[in-house]
């Protein structure tokens, strides 16, 4: 019977201790320059610790049986489910829309090459032709004669047939930099990297285009100075010859060749093969 008041006392004591620890951690986090979200995280840990210590000295739970036990059990499952879903939802959520467009671009060539892709492409073309024919027929009916029937062909040749200008190629190469997520390992313009691979800002001054291409298609062919330890040799994935079309590699190389900032210490590449 005396257990309850003493437990309440102990809860109050622990809450006060938890608040003090939380306050100290919060203050220390400010002093050490942690952003607000980390300060709150530290306070949350202080609260978790408090909850744990309260639980340790909590009085015994009386035995439950029958319907009461079943009801408590079901409620327990509901609470657990709610806490886990709620907890997971509280973390920052990745937006799938960010990668949907990327994936479509990355898989475009492979889709075209697949049987399914070929069939789909034929269907799309047939549909487009059918729509075009309908539109021409409509125009003929309204104007009483042929007008711009040849124009789309010329436009089409421009869009699909001509080689991109060098400016376009560099832009396409930058696109490839993003699509292949090179920024995950290589720092560029002071962003990304995490030191997994060398900074790339001055690579245009250190490698020729064909050497860069060789490195991308066969990552062990060149190694950057300071990245030659055995475990580092395999860091650059040997997969781009499969994942990228030749024109994509050329575009990426064109982009990399423009990176000529001597102020950045891009390590010197060494020929290994």
């Amino acid at each position: 019977m005396n257990e309850q008041p003493s437990f309440l006392k102990s809860v109050v004591k622990k809450l006060i201790a938890g608040a003090i620890v939380g306050g100290v951690l919060f203050g220390a986090a400010i002093a050490l320059g942690f952003p607000p979200v980390f300060r709150y995280m530290f306070v949350a840990y202080a609260m978790l610790g408090t909850a744990v210590f309260i639980l340790l000295d909590a009085p015994s739970l009386p035995a439950l049986s029958g319907v009461k036990a079943l009801a408590v059990l079901l409620a327990f499952y509901l609470v657990l489910s709610g806490v886990y879903i709620g907890g997971a939802s509280l973390w920052p959520q990745y937006d799938p829309e960010d990668e949907k467009g990327k994936i479509a671009k990355l898989l475009e060539a492979k889709r075209r090459a697949s049987e399914q892709g070929k069939a789909e492409e034929l269907l799309v073309r047939a549909k487009a032709l059918s729509e075009k024919a309908d539109s021409i027929m409509q125009r003929l009916q309204t104007l009483g004669g042929p007008t711009e029937a040849a124009a789309p062909g010329a436009g089409g040749a421009k869009a699909g047939g001509a080689a991109p200008a060098s400016g376009d190629l560099v832009a396409l190469g930058k696109d490839q930099w993003e699509l292949q997520e090179c920024y995950n390992c290589h720092k560029l313009y002071g962003q990304g990297g995490k030191k997994r691979g060398p900074e790339m800002d001055n690579i245009g001054n250190l490698m020729k285009a064909e050497e860069m291409k060789e490195k991308i298609l066969d990552p062990r062919s060149w190694m950057a100075e300071g990245f030659e330890k055995e475990y580092e040799k395999k860091k650059m994935p040997d997969k781009y010859k499969e994942l990228m079309e030749d024109k994509d590699v050329d575009a990426l190389v064109a982009f990399l060749a423009t990176l000529k900032n001597p102020a950045v210490n891009t390590p010197k590449p060494i020929k290994k093969k």
């Binding site: 990745y94 799938p96 697949s114 860091k235 997969k239």
Partner: protein, 571 residues
């Protein structure tokens, strides 16, 4: 469920395997669209359910046979009863494994016919011959093991135990065989400098099976299955304890819950390292998988994993705390103050050491091994130090504090963003503290959780040697702890299963077979959590039903009474 009904279900599973293999040979099978869920989610639900059932039926027999052997060796009927009760539940869940396995293949063929055909063709011998043969073998041995339990007693017990060993052998080989195609989807075999497509075309079946992540996945699943089986045993015990009518029953199920938790935690201690080995191999296979998991799309999944692991360690240590409270004489148990000091120093010293000597540099062992052994060795070399002790209560409370601190380190992210591309200064760890988000700190945190848990179990062991356990008198809240552990273990398994599948990114088989469907993106953690919870609940309902059906309904049979309290020496 009668034997013929179980056999029918198993037969259904087998037919599904054969049917699917044959169906896969039919060219250009049409694709169906699952209503409401979509195809990916339909496969996710069925696959995850199948894996949960399979994990239990593969993990439980490992400790069942050990328990049976212990019962035989110690002549303690409780071990034999535990083994038999768990195997009863296993037999029911075996049927569910076959049923969901068959369903899994059908759903796969209906939703991803081209890919499924492609995969079956690559592993034709596995799917058409080896796996079905193992499945038949396992079925026969499992039923033989179960139905000979009562008849192969006394002199024949050793024969029965040998049958259990054979069952485990077949089960483990089955796991290893099916892990071949599973791991192949994550890390298809490749050779340096060669085109992966060309290499796979020329590769032998063994080349495809023995890929980068095959053995790490085998080990991870093997240990994970035992952990899972242990916690489900705890769940069985908790249900039975809650429904027990007599002190003798409560005493037995209290003991069973303790053993289940011990098995679960014992295996759990190895799990972080097995998981680390698997992710290490994945990253070694393709370094771009690492940032995808740890810094980008899946980074918050790992935050959630950290939270779950922390909760599981807190709960398992809380169970030990509650277990110690019912030991008479526990207040006399003390431990060296050096142990407590090492517990406190461990995460900080380890983080520093592993930062200076990164894994696998063996120099780190020169610091860490003496540190971990210091409490045992220093006390003997300098006796006055050995005489400085603290009570078990103080030690466990410090251990809890270190679990919270260790978990805080584990969960400190580089930034509070779901992807590195959106990282801004206000959400990023300050530069001086960025080491907290790196692997040395994370490994230290994992090691701290393991170390303090081991210390707590050593303390418990001392307590039962010096005191008397009053079985059946444990705080009732402990049963909820056991249920919590099982639920959380299943949930975590679902979460990590999702991660293992998602690291394939927009491929069915990484870098080899793209997923052209509109669903090949990374889902949000919140969306995944809803479905993981749903799957966990469905699994729980089936398991609860199996427990009630097999144990509650048939519990009227008389059991050998267990005394209460039990003198410590008799344990």
């Amino acid at each position: 469920m009668k034997t013929w009904q179980r056999s029918l279900l198993v037969l259904f599973g087998l037919l599904a395997v054969f049917g699917a293999t044959a169906y896969a040979q039919v060219p250009s099978a049409p694709t169906v669209e699952f209503p409401y869920t979509g195809n990916r989610l339909a496969v996710w639900i069925v696959a995850q359910l199948h894996i949960l059932f399979a994990a239990f039926i593969l993990g439980a027999p490992i400790f069942v046979v050990i328990s049976e052997w212990l019962g035989y060796r110690k002549q303690d009927p409780r071990y034999d009863r535990l083994a038999k009760e768990v195997i009863k539940v296993t037999v029911i869940l075996y049927s569910m494994t076959a049923l969901t396995g068959g369903l899994f293949i059908f759903v796969l063929l209906a939703t991803y016919p081209q890919f499924t055909t492609w995969l079956i063709n690559h592993f034709f011998l596995v799917f058409a011959v080896i796996y079905p043969l193992l499945f038949i073998g396992e079925t026969i041995v499992l039923y033989l093991y179960f139905y000979t339990w009562d008849s192969w007693k006394g002199d024949k017990k050793a024969r029965h135990i040998a049958l259990g060993v054979l069952l485990n052998l077949i089960g483990t080989i089955t796991l290893f065989v099916i892990d071949g195609p599973t791991s192949f989807m994550n890390t298809p075999a490749k050779a340096e400098g060669a085109s992966i497509v060309e290499f796979i075309q020329a590769a032998t079946l063994w080349d495809k099976i023995f890929n980068y992540s095959w053995m790490p996945l085998n080990l991870h699943r093997l240990v994970g299955n035992v952990t899972f089986g242990g916690f489900i045993t705890g769940l069985i015990a908790a249900y039975m304890y809650m429904g027990a009518k007599t002190d003798s029953e409560r005493s037995y199920y209290d003991w069973m819950g303790f053993v289940g938790n011990l098995i679960g935690v014992g295996a759990l201690l190895f799990l972080p390292f097995m998981g680390y080995l698997l992710s290490y191999e994945l990253c070694d296979y393709d370094a771009s998988i690492c940032p995808y998991m740890m810094a980008d799309q899946l980074s918050m999944f790992f935050e959630m994993q950290g939270a779950m692991v922390g909760l599981i360690f807190l709960a398992s240590n809380y169970y030990i705390w509650l277990s110690m409270k019912r030991i008479e004489g526990v207040e006399r148990v003390r431990i060296s103050v050096l142990t407590v000091l090492v517990m406190i120093a461990l995460p900080f010293v380890m983080t520093y050491t592993w930062t200076v000597f990164p894994v696998p540099d063996p120099k780190s062992l020169a610091v860490l091994v003496p540190l971990v052994l210091a409490p045992a060795v220093l006390g003997k070399i300098v006796p006055p130090l050995g005489r400085l002790t603290v009570s078990s209560r103080v030690c466990i409370k410090v251990a809890f504090l270190m679990v919270v601190i260790g978990n805080a380190i584990w969960m400190t992210p580089h930034g509070f963003v779901a992807t590195g591309a959106k990282l801004v200064e206000e959400l990023e760890l300050p530069g001086d503290w960025s080491f907290l988000a790196l692997m040395p700190a994370k490994n230290s945190a994992a090691f701290t959780l393991v170390f303090v848990t081991v210390v707590n179990y050593i303390l418990y062991n001392r307590a039962i040697k010096q005191g008397t356990i009053v079985w059946g008198k444990i705080d009732f809240v402990s049963q909820f702890v056991l249920i919590f552990l099982a639920f959380s273990a299943i949930w975590t398994m679902g979460l990590m299963g999702a991660v293992r599948s998602l690291v394939r990114k927009y491929f069915h088989t990484y870098n080899l077979y793209p997923d052209f469907t509109a669903e090949s993106f990374t889902p949000t953690l919140s969306y995944s959590a809803w479905w993981i919870t749903g799957i966990t609940l469905v699994f729980y309902i089936v398991v609860s039903f199996a427990i009630i059906l097999t144990l509650r309904v048939s519990e009227s049979k008389a059991h050998v009474p267990e005394g209460s309290p039990v003198p410590a020496g008799a344990k």
